[in-house]
Amino acid sequence: MIENIDMALVNWSRGQFALVAFYHWLFIPLTLGMTYIIAYAQTIHVRTGDKEWERIAKFWAKLFGINFAIGVGTGIILGLEFGTNWANYSWISGDIFGAPLAAEGILAFFLESTFVAVMFFGWGKVSKKFHLMSVYLVAFGASLSALWILVANAWMNYPVGMVFNLENARHEMVDFWTVLFSPYAINKFLHTITSGFVISSFFIVAVSSWYVLKGRNLLLAKRSIVVAATFGLISSIFLATTGDGSAYWVAQKQPAKLAAMEGLYQGEEGAGLVAIGMLRPGKEIGDGQNAFLFKIEIPKLLSVLGYRNADAFVPGAEDLVLGNAEQNIMSAEEKIRRGKMALTALAEYKEAIALDDETTAQEARAVFEENYYYMGYGHMFDPDGIIPNVPFIFYSFRIMVILGFAFIALFLLILYLTVVNKLEENRWLLWVSIFSLPLAFLASMAGWIVAEVGRQPWTIQGLLPTMMSTSNINANAVILTFIMFAVLLTILVLAEYKIMVTAIKHGPDKQKKGGENV
């Protein structure tokens, strides 16, 4: 289909998407979670008339507002980048991938943007109940938006509900519900949105902890800590259970990603889970070296997590590349061979159709359909290339999981000390809470690395390699725009950060002049 692959184009296109996605994800988690906490505080205010809860709601809503706009701004770049930088992908899979994006726009974005206007500008203009309902609708809109985009993302990892149309040479949707309710999608949605809740909780706990340390706004800070830490605790426990679900579906559908997550080169029955370990630098597939310099392993746990069976066989990178006849795993070389047969058959089919040669066309179609499942491999030339970057995924995965469990403990401790009224005495814990905010972002970014870098070399798992998905442009165009976005977004993020810090230092009360009122 495409003759020349320019790896600079592919890598810079990936880089550009990663750059914008990274910045986008600095803001989105706060949008996802803070609204629920604001809505909760405001609900108590509406029910009890307690002014302090209103002050709490308004203060967090102010910080939410600073964060919201830049999340929207970075989002539009990502949406259009599918077209500008991944034009081939947009055509080949747009029939399935475009629908959730459009649904997101029609069903979620309008909900969010309409009621966020009421949330900001409606104080004193609409009734308290309508205002409160608007806050809930913003929260719901944000969650709904996350659902649609994560359904689209999950489909790239676990493509379902579609067939390949030979006439158009693209994938076409045949079952919307299968795409929407794919177990991979449901799990991805739940896991990702709760990670946003955890980050939001840390944001509120961190800012409030700083107030407690400074002895300012104590009532607001302590109430906020209780609400956010409770929300954070529930979310982080849920995060761990959905994380388990994620691992299960990765094991089922993306064995190469799982192998990279575990640094597993040689598959085994009853595989253990590496709790901590250090990979041997320079380890290559089939070089016979031990993959680890050292590791501490929990026996059989990987088999249990991946297959719900303590003795299940978990394939390693070498089984996937070299094949394992015993376990009925086909080698990458054989998949590439079959993939090339599918691509050749596709070309023959199109040629035969053009010549009105129905018999040849049917023969070609049969060969294509037999080998369709391996079509993506037909574009590959290096069998080792089917395994993503092992160290990057392995360490990212550990950072995410270890921090995730630490967060559960931290939220528990914060809540306990708050209940026994000893939080202020434990100043170290307040500092730990503050430094946990960047760690929460780190854990979440690490999770995205596992998910996205772990999917490589595919944009659509097994069907479309990343290198085939770019736009047909010069790498220099992508480099130039990469630099433009890098400079622009960095400046805007610094500006946002400074406004946020100033607003936090200033606190919840009205400003006298030159600024906004609440």
């Binding site: 701004g73 077209g83 055509w91 029939d95 629908a99 104080w123």
Partner: protein
């Protein structure tokens, strides 16, 4: 319910939906137009704040409508999405930057500790208002004038000029639509602010701007429309799908589709009426005529662009590579599924209408900017 529709009917339906969204978007560009009038309408800081808060409370609707237009085109006509964004690369990237700048500017402008200073953010609003709108108009003009791309047998598109979108600036007709859209947005912005802000000083200046900008708009718009009606258009044979150039194609489309012609004439009359009552009768209600008039006019232009066997995204490099609602669309199944989702559009429009009314019950004035409890830009 929609399962009995043919693929072509669904393609026509989705072209209709996208036309409605595009027409709404053009009307909502009054936000961008208003942004280019901040300094003209507001001479003091307080006046500027009133102007900015008037349009600032609506920016997200314009932005969201833009996003929905893009996402809707992705879902319904993915080959168009891939071809234009991947091809006219630089034009769209600059366009994107204009909109990112807008997204943060309202919020950051007067915040304490805003790093870049109030003037910079107001500058960003100008960039978005001028360049963003102009580029959008010029890019949409290529729907008539064509672009240089080649579509392979696998439907992958290859842009044939290394300018990647900047070449649209070298065609006078593209420039004319870019400028027409810019001055239309400014006219709409002035009309909207005239209606929305309770300040006699600002209203007097806005009224003056309506007249000035409307004249410039009409000059460029007439040039563009006359050229469109007289030009050769990209038509295709519905049976063989073969693309060919047809003299007076768009004129023919208007004559062969009386609905489009009626929409166009009604739209133009409404646009002029809104401007007229603002200018001659000192009315503040012009936006209620010029706004819907804009919507109808743009709708009619999209009808002649996509219907009646017309290529809505023509290739001037290779006629047969041109995109039509038939060859650029999603599968019948996807369009059907999307059609169910489109049933929510009236629901969305209804809640937007009622929330706007709730917020806009009180117009923006001095007191509003000083007192009150709500968020102020």
């Amino acid at each position: 319910m929609f399962d009995s529709l043919t693929h072509l009917q669904l393609q026509q339906y989705w072209w209709f939906i996208m036309s409605v969204v595009a027409s709404t978007l053009v009307f909502l560009l009054f936000v961008q137009g208003g942004q280019t009038l901040i300094g003209t309408l507001g001479k003091t800081d307080d006046e500027r704040t009133m102007v900015i808060n008037s349009i600032g409370r609506k920016w997200e609707f314009t932005f969201t409508t833009l996003v929905v237009f893009a996402a809707g085109m992705f879902a319904s006509f993915p080959l168009f999405y891939a071809t234009t964004f991947g091809g006219a690369y630089y034009a769209w990237k600059i366009f994107l930057i204009c909109f990112v700048l807008q997204a943060i500017s309202f919020e950051f402008r007067r915040k304490q500790g805003n790093l870049l200073g109030q003037k910079t953010y107001e500058g960003f609003l100008y960039v978005n208002g001028f360049l963003g709108v102009f580029l959008l108009g010029a890019a949409v003009a290529t729907f008539f004038t064509g672009s240089e791309f080649y579509r392979s047998e696998y439907n992958l598109s290859y842009w044939q000029t290394s300018l990647h979108g900047l070449e649209i600036l070298f065609n006078p007709q593209n420039l004319a639509l870019g400028l027409a859209l810019l001055f239309l947005a400014r006219t709409l912005g002035a009309l909207y602010i005239l209606n929305n802000v309770n300040s006699e000083v600002i209203q007097a200046r806005a009224r003056r701007q309506v007249g000035l900008n409307a004249i410039v708009f009409l000059v460029f718009f007439l040039y563009f429309v006359i050229r469109v009606l007289l030009m050769e258009g990209y038509a295709y044979d519905p049976a063989t799908k073969e693309v060919f150039l047809e003299p007076y194609k768009y004129l023919h489309n208007y004559l062969e589709m009386p609905v489009a012609l009626i929409l166009f004439l009604a739209g133009v009359v409404l646009v002029l009426y809104g401007i007229g009552i603002t200018w001659f009768k000192e009315s503040r209600k012009g936006i209620w005529f010029t706004g819907p008039g804009t919507f109808l006019t743009v709708l009619s232009l999209f009808f002649v662009l996509g219907y009646n066997n017309t290529c809505f995204y023509p290739s001037s490099f290779d006629l047969q590579s041109s995109l039509t609602i038939e060859n650029a669309s999603s599968s019948r199944y996807t369009l059907t599924a999307m059609t169910y989702i489109s049933l929510f559009v009236p629901v969305v429009a209804t809640y937007i209408f009622f929330t706007w009314r709730a917020i806009d019950r009180n117009k923006i004035d001095d007191q509003d900017m000083k007192g009150g409890e709500h968020h102020i830009y």
